[in-house]
């Protein structure tokens, strides 16, 4: 039993010092005015109660970042999950040949480096020479200034995120689909159910636990989006792609208002926490 603690010691020490304690410290920090002067001498930081949080509520930039982040999560998340599920259902069909090849192609963007593909997509979205407008041209759609127009910048980032991520959830959905007993479909067919009814009455309910898991990890990931706006738009135009994490980064590591930035980080944490709790609750209702 003593060796159990020895085996645990390195991991637990690292997690305690470099994960757990910083969380606690960040919480305390969010009640101080820790800034660039405190950086040299910690004792200069003063306890200011809830001021950072009150100031956040009065900060239009914070509301903008919050709105943008929710836009990204609530539109991008479901879109990405739908695409993943669609691709999984198609790939899972018995008729498909070269399954491995297709799976590989769909999955390739997942393993790429986000910063690098963000660089690539900046050119894909080029208003005059980019692939995106070229493609849309075939459908008679006029060129869009994707990253320069406040209306289109966020949809542009969402399309990139869906392209980059759908393969990951697709793999999880395929595993879920393979666990659904074949007899269910056969019985449904006997009862005269069409493909759409089978999907609605068998596939979707049977996939509910998988979908919950996918929804939670997707939500947590999407709430943390940062590299896309950092590389492609710097949060612009007109702050239309400023995300919570980008705001936290700018406040904390550019302006060195670390107390304020810690408050931003905690708001993010609480939102993710509440989001996860809601989804767990929904799952319980579904199971009952």
């Amino acid at each position: 039993m003593r060796s159990a603690y020895l085996f645990l010691a390195p991991a637990m020490t690292a997690i305690l010092i470099f994960f757990a304690l910083p969380i606690l410290a960040a919480f305390l920090m969010s009640f101080t005015d820790f800034d660039i002067y405190s950086l040299g001498d910690w004792s200069r930081a003063r306890f200011i109660g809830l001021d950072n949080y009150w100031n956040l509520l009065k900060d239009p930039l914070f509301w903008k970042a919050l709105k943008n982040t929710f836009y990204f999560v609530l539109v991008g998340g479901p879109l990405s999950i739908t695409v993943s599920l669609g691709a999984a259902v198609l790939l899972n069909s018995k008729l498909v040949q070269f399954k491995g090849l297709f799976r590989l192609a769909f999955f390739a963007p997942v393993v790429t480096t986000l910063v690098a593909v963000a660089v690539v997509w900046r050119y894909v979205y080029h208003p005059r020479f980019g692939l995106m407008n070229y493609l849309l041209g075939f459908f008679g759609i006029n060129p869009v200034d994707w990253l320069g127009d406040p209306t289109w910048a966020m949809p542009a980032l969402i399309i990139l995120a869906v392209w980059k991520n759908f393969g990951y959830n697709m793999i999880i959905f395929i595993a879920g689909l393979q666990n659904i007993p074949e007899e269910l479909y056969e019985a449904a067919k006997m009862d005269g159910a069409g493909p759409f009814q089978q999907f609605w009455n068998i596939t979707l309910p049977m996939l509910a636990p998988t979908t919950l898991f996918v929804a939670i990890i997707t939500m947590i990931g999407y709430f943390q989006f940062f590299a896309e706006p950092y590389v492609m738009t710097q949060g612009g135009p007109l702050n239309s792609t400023l995300s919570i994490v980008l705001l936290m980064y700018q406040e904390g590591f550019r302006a060195w208002r670390m107390g304020y930035s810690a408050a931003v980080a905690f708001v993010l944490f609480f939102i993710i926490l509440i989001g996860s709790l809601i989804q767990f609750r929904l799952q319980k209702d579904v199971n009952l």
């Binding site: 060796s3 470099f18 410290a25 390739a108 790429t112 910063v115 690098a116 990890i217």
Partner: protein
């Protein structure tokens, strides 16, 4: 008919997912200016490696590759050791508070890493490891996901093997090293790929900890390059190719293990 339609749809999706990557490779081989034409070109007229040459000679890319390799390989090796030890303890030992501790760790997984970054930066500054490899490596040493992955796998290793080794007088550490680790090789490969790719692709933390140019990892260097060379499309594509290529190769060679990791991770969230 149905089959043809299905395959056409799949091929279309495949083209959409691969097009940006293929165009990246193709544009990186075009002479300066050729990627900025309408309609877009997909095949370079006169392929050239000049941008790759520029990256290595004028823009110090070799140094960034080296930084990325050192950081990613170190994180991978250290975390394999640390996480496999902890996973072993959770899977094969009974000690008070084990299940509570494990559950606490699992629920802590929803805490976004960004929350830790401000104090972590101050702590590492105090330790004097800002702008060093160690500063980048430290937060990646232990991962809850890694411990979870390894524990799940080790649960399936029969206890009788451990008891037999113990009868032969093997110490616990000996059992871990000579009995358990060899049996856990598949999951170690899986975790190694996950960790390596995560470390290679990581952006926010290296961006925070590394402020000196010569220490940049590839993603940080690439983002920085974007600031000065946004107009040089072909050059930026060459930089992106070199950043993505290593992880893509690792994945292609070991994809079976990577996919398995996603599956195990999704069994119990």
């Amino acid at each position: 008919m149905k089959k043809t339609l299905l395959h056409i749809t799949l091929i279309l999706i495949g083209i959409l997912t691969l097009a940006p990557l293929l165009w990246m490779v193709s544009a990186s081989l075009m002479p300066a200016g050729e990627a900025n034409t309408f309609p877009p070109k997909f095949i370079p007229d006169n392929p050239t490696l000049e941008h790759y040459r520029t990256l290595f000679t004028r823009l110090n890319l070799l140094r960034y590759i080296l930084n990325s390799v050192v950081v990613s390989v170190s994180i991978t090796l250290i975390s394999l050791l640390v996480n496999s030890m902890a996973g072993f303890a959770f899977a094969k030992f009974h000690f008070p508070g084990r299940d509570t501790l494990f559950k606490t760790l699992l629920s802590a997984m929803i805490i976004p890493a960004q929350v830790t970054m401000l104090p972590l930066f101050l702590l590492l500054k105090q330790m004097g490891v800002i702008n060093t490899y160690i500063g980048v490596i430290i937060p990646g040493m232990a991962s809850i996901f890694g411990i979870f992955l390894i524990r799940q796998y080790m649960l399936s290793i029969p206890d009788s093997l451990i008891e037999a080794a113990r009868m032969d007088g093997a110490s616990d550490f000996r059992i871990y090293w000579s009995v358990i680790l060899p049996l856990a090789k598949p999951i170690l490969v899986t975790l190694a790929i996950f960790t390596f790719m995560g470390a290679w692709n990581d952006f926010l933390w290296p961006l925070i900890v590394l402020t000196r140019d010569s220490m940049y990892t590839l993603p940080v260097a690439l983002a920085n390059l974007m600031g000065e060379h946004a107009q040089d499309t072909e050059l930026m594509m060459a930089g992106s190719v070199l950043t993505i290529l290593p992880v893509l190769i690792v994945f292609l060679v070991l994809q079976k293990y990577y996919i398995r990791g996603i599956m195990i991770g999704s069994v119990k969230g």
